[in-house]
């Protein structure tokens, strides 16, 4: 009697439906497990990517700052260098002017006198005006021995 009732309850379509739902549940279970693992992996990758993006952004900012510093220092160098060159040119021009004055004075000297003073002795003193200009050049170059010249 009871077995008949059970047999009726578990008829073939019901068993099939039960098997179908069990397999479906298993499939969903596996799928959710699989996608959860994948989601974890993607989240991990996202975290790494975010960290990398932050690092890259920071590196980019630093590179930009470094470029600005390099530009500023280069500009300073060019400006200061021009100042040194201008000072040098100024002294060179003064030496040229001095040479013109000396030549004008020498025009008044006779040929014999010119031959006599053709060579400057090694221990001969430099003209005072020239010494002044050389000292000026040394001062522009911030030489430590400027006082000796």
């Amino acid at each position: 009697m009871l077995t008949d009732v059970v047999k009726k309850m578990f008829s073939k379509p019901l068993i099939l439906a039960l098997l179908f739902f069990i397999s479906l549940s298993g499939l969903f279970g596996y799928a959710s497990y699989h996608f959860y693992a994948e989601k974890q992996l993607v989240e991990e990758r996202l975290d790494v990517s975010e960290a990398n993006a932050k690092l890259l952004s920071s590196a980019l900012l630093k590179a930009e700052k470094a470029r600005k510093i390099a530009d500023t220092i280069t500009s300073e160098y060019v400006f200061d260098s021009k100042d040194i060159i201008a000072s040098k040119e100024d002294v060179l021009n003064k030496i040229d002017e001095l040479a013109v004055v000396v030549e004008a004075k020498q025009d008044a000297i006779t040929k014999e006198e010119k031959n006599a003073i053709k060579y400057v002795p090694l221990d001969g003193s430099l003209p005072v005006s020239l010494r002044g200009l050389l000292a000026e050049a040394c001062l522009h170059a911030k030489g430590i021995a400027c006082n000796d010249s």
Binding site: S58, A70, T74, S81, I95, A99, A141
Partner: protein, 59 residues
């Protein structure tokens, strides 16, 4: 890394020539040349220290 603009030779040494004038000019050019090299070195040092400061501060 030092920028290329600071990796240059600003000038070369000048000879004494054969006259007092050329000797004096050589002296002026050479002292000026030393000043330019010194300036370049100062700027390279400044750049190096700035880079150290920039990259050490952000560690």
């Amino acid at each position: 890394m030092t920028p290329d603009s600071l990796l240059i030779a600003p000038c070369v040494a000048y000879g004494a020539g054969t006259t007092v004038s050329s000797l004096a000019k050589g002296y002026v050019k050479n002292t000026s040349c030393i000043a330019q090299w010194q300036l370049l070195l100062d700027k390279q040092i400044k750049h190096k220290r700035s880079m150290e400061k920039l990259y050490d501060n952000s560690k």
